[in-house]
C-alpha cells in the first residue's frame, strides 16, 4: 500500500440503528481511492446496514467521510450526488420502467444528454441481453440481467465510489461468477473505488485488495484480501473449507 494513497471513504466509530434497536456498534472502515474493499460476514452481521448508513438511509452517529468530508446526515439523494452510487440488496430495479428508462434514471442528474445516450448505447453493446430488451419492463428480466442492469445504472452517474450490496444474491453460481468477472474487468479498466458486501466470500475476496469481516455490528477482522483468504477462521466460516 503506497503511503500516499488516500482513502476515498472513511468510517469512524459509526453507530446506527432502526428505532431503538442499534445494529452497528462502532464500525470503522476505510476504502482506498481506486481500491476495492470487501465487507464480509454472516447474515445479520450488519453489512447491509453499513452501506445504508453510508448512503444516509438509516440514521447514524460517528463519522462517515467521503474525500475527507463528513457526509453523515445527508439525504440519500445528496450522497448520490456527491458521487456515491449504491446498488442496494435486491438490486432496486425500477420494475415498471423499461430497461432504457432505468439507465436514464441512473444518469438523471447529468447535464450532458448526448453523452448519456452514448453511454447507454455502449452498455447495450456490451450486454446484448439488455440491449435486446431496451424497451421491455425491467421487472421481466432475469436475476442476473437485473444485476447487470443495476450495476450499469449505478455507473451511469459516473460515480467515484460504488457500493455493491450482495451482487450474487439469488443468482446461480455461474451467473454470480459472470457478474463478478464483469465487475472485476470494469474495475481494472476504470479504477473505480468499490465497497462490496458479500456473503459469498470467495468471489468478493478475489475481486478485492482489502477486506473486513463483520460480526454482530462490529468489524471482527480486517486485513488485505490475500491475508484474510488465508486465515483459517475465514476459510472455515465463509469459504466452506
Amino acid at each position: 500500500m503506497s503511503p500516499d494513497a488516500t482513502n476515498i471513504l472513511e468510517l469512524v466509530d459509526v453507530r446506527a440503528g432502526y428505532g431503538r434497536a442499534e445494529v452497528l456498534h462502532g464500525v470503522s472502515l476505510a476504502v482506498r481511492e481506486g481500491g476495492v474493499t470487501a465487507l464480509l460476514g454472516a447474515n445479520g452481521a450488519g453489512k447491509t446496514s453499513t452501506l445504508r448508513a453510508i448512503s444516509g438511509m438509516v440514521s447514524a452517529t460517528g463519522r462517515i467521510a467521503l474525500d475527507g468530508k463528513q457526509i453523515l446526515g445527508s439525504r440519500p439523494d445528496q450522497v448520490a450526488r456527491l458521487g456515491v452510487a449504491h446498488v442496494p440488496q435486491g438490486r432496486g430495479t425500477l420494475e415498471q420502467l423499461s430497461v432504457r428508462e432505468n439507465l436514464l434514471v441512473g444518469g438523471y442528474r447529468r447535464r450532458d444528454r448526448r453523452a448519456v445516450a452514448v453511454q447507454i448505447d455502449e452498455y447495450f453493446d456490451l450486454f446484448p441481453a439488455l440491449g435486446s430488451r431496451a424497451t421491455a419492463a425491467a421487472g421481466n428480466l432475469s436475476g442476473g440481467e437485473q444485476q447487470m442492469l443495476a450495476v450499469c445504472r449505478a455507473l451511469m452517474s459516473r460515480p467515484r465510489l460504488l457500493l455493491l450490496d450482495e451482487p450474487s444474491l439469488g443468482l446461480a453460481p455461474r451467473m454470480a461468477e459472470e457478474v463478478f468477472n464483469t465487475i472485476g474487468r470494469l474495475q481494472r479498466e476504470t479504477k473505480l473505488s468499490m465497497l462490496v458486501v458479500e456473503q459469498t466470500a470467495a468471489l468478493a475476496l478475489a475481486l478485492a485488495d482489502t477486506a473486513a469481516v463483520m460480526e454482530t455490528g462490529r468489524i471482527a477482522l480486517r486485513g488485505s484480501a490475500a491475508e484474510l483468504a488465508d486465515r483459517d477462521e475465514v476459510r472455515r466460516a465463509y469459504l466452506g473449507d
Partner: protein
C-alpha cells in the same frame, strides 16, 4: 396491595359511583347530553373494534346506527315488546354488516375503506324513499321509555340510567371479547395479514367478525339513540356522522376502550363548545385536533388521548411513575437518534418510504 393496583380498582369504581349520582342533581338537559355521550360511546366502541383493534377503517358506522335507530323506532311505533325492539335493532345491522363484509373484506385496506362509504351514501336516499317504514325525510318520532311510576325519578334520569346500564354491559362484553382469543386474532390481522394466514388465522373470517360486532354495537347504539332522543331520521345515517365518529375516535384513542368514551364526549360536546351555530368551527376543530393528535401522540393513530396521557405520566419523576403504575412509553434517550414514527416493532428495516417501494397493493 400497592398503590397502583389500588388505583386500578378504585378509579373505575369511583367513576361508576360518580356516574350514578350525577343525574340526581343535574339538569334534564345535562342528563340528556350525558345520555347521548353514552349512546355515541357505544357506537364508537363498535367502530373502535373494527377500525382500531382489527385495523379495518370503516366509514359506514353511521349507517348501522341509523338502521338500528329505525328498527327501534319502528318496533316502538308498532307496539313490539322493548326487548324485541332491542334485539332487532342490534341484530338487523349485524346481519347487514356481515352480508356486506363477507365479500368486502377480500379487498385490500384502501379499497375496503372506499367500499364502506357505500353504506351511508346509499342508506340516506333509501331511508328517504321508504317513508312508510322510516318516516321519510322528516323521520319518525316516538314517545316511549317513560319512567315507571313509583321510582321517584324523572324521564331524563330514568333514560340516563337505562343508557348507563346498557352501555356498561356492552362495554364489559366488549372488553371480554377483546381480551380473549378474538381480540388477539384481531391484533394479528391488524398488524400483518400475511403473517396471520401463516399462523392459520383466517384474516377474512376475523374481519367479518369485526365488522359484524361493530355493526351490532352500532345498531344497539341506534336503539339507545331513539331511547334518548325519541326520534330517528336520515340525518343519523349520513356520511358526515360517520366521519365525525371516526375523527372523535382518533382523538379519544384506538388502543383502549376508554378511548371510545372520550370519543363520545368529544362527539357530543365539540359541536356545543365550538358553536353549533357555525358548523365550520366544529369542523376546523375536529380536523385540526385529529391532525395534532396524529402528529404528536406516540403510536400515531392508535394512540389518542389515552396514550398521550400515559406518555405524559411516563415523564414524571420515578416515584410518581411507580405510584401510577405506568410503563414509561418513551424510554431513556437511545444511543441513536430515534426514527420518526416507529409505531411498533418492524420486521424489516423501514425504508425511506415503505409506501412506494414495498407498499401493499389494493390487490
Amino acid at each position: 396491595m400497592n398503590a397502583a393496583r389500588a388505583l386500578k380498582v378504585a378509579l373505575p369504581l369511583g367513576v361508576l359511583v360518580v356516574l350514578a349520582i350525577v343525574p340526581l342533581s343535574a339538569t334534564p338537559y345535562t342528563n340528556y347530553q350525558l345520555s347521548l355521550v353514552g349512546t355515541f360511546a357505544v357506537a364508537i366502541l363498535g367502530l373502535n373494534i373494527v377500525s382500531g383493534y382489527a385495523g379495518q377503517i370503516s366509514l359506514g358506522q353511521s349507517a348501522f346506527m341509523g338502521v338500528g335507530a329505525y328498527a327501534a323506532a319502528f318496533g316502538v311505533a308498532h307496539g313490539w315488546p322493548v326487548v324485541l325492539s332491542f334485539v332487532v335493532a342490534a341484530l338487523l345491522p349485524a346481519a347487514i354488516g356481515a352480508l356486506v363484509a363477507i365479500p368486502a373484506v377480500r379487498l385490500r385496506g384502501n379499497a375496503l375503506a372506499v367500499v364502506t362509504i357505500i353504506l351511508p351514501i346509499i342508506a340516506v336516499p333509501l331511508a328517504k324513499r321508504y317513508a312508510g317504514v322510516t318516516g321519510g325525510s322528516e323521520g319518525r318520532s316516538v314517545d316511549w321509555a317513560h319512567v315507571p311510576s313509583g321510582t321517584g325519578l324523572e324521564d331524563d334520569q330514568w333514560r340516563y340510567y337505562l343508557v348507563l346500564v346498557i352501555a356498561a354491559v356492552l362495554f364489559l362484553l366488549g372488553r371480554n371479547i377483546l381480551s380473549g382469543r378474538i381480540g388477539r386474532a384481531f391484533a394479528i390481522v391488524r398488524t400483518n395479514e400475511a403473517v396471520a394466514s401463516a399462523m392459520g388465522i383466517s384474516a377474512h373470517r376475523y374481519k367479518v367478525v369485526a365488522f359484524t360486532i361493530a355493526a351490532c354495537y352500532g345498531g344497539a347504539a341506534g336503539f339507545l339513540y331513539v331511547l334518548v332522543v325519541q326520534f330517528a331520521s336520515p340525518d343519523l345515517l349520513n356520511f358526515q356522522v360517520a366521519i365525525n365518529m371516526l375523527a372523535a375516535l382518533v382523538i379519544g384513542g384506538f388502543a383502549n376502550l376508554w378511548g371510545a368514551v372520550i370519543a363520545g364526549l368529544f362527539y357530543v360536546y365539540v359541536p356545543v363548545v365550538a358553536g353549533a351555530v357555525d358548523p365550520s368551527r366544529t369542523n376546523i376543530f375536529y380536523g385540526a385536533v385529529v391532525l395534532v393528535v396524529l402528529f404528536i401522540v406516540p403510536g400515531g393513530v392508535s394512540g389518542g388521548i389515552v396514550r398521550l396521557v400515559r406518555a405524559l405520566l411516563a415523564r414524571l419523576p420515578d416515584r410518581y411513575r411507580r405510584f401510577t403504575g405506568v410503563d414509561p412509553q418513551a424510554g431513556p434517550a437511545s444511543p441513536v437518534p430515534p426514527q420518526p414514527d416507529a409505531s411498533g416493532p418492524e420486521p424489516t428495516p423501514p425504508s425511506l418510504r415503505a409506501g412506494a417501494g414495498s407498499r401493499k397493493e389494493p390487490q
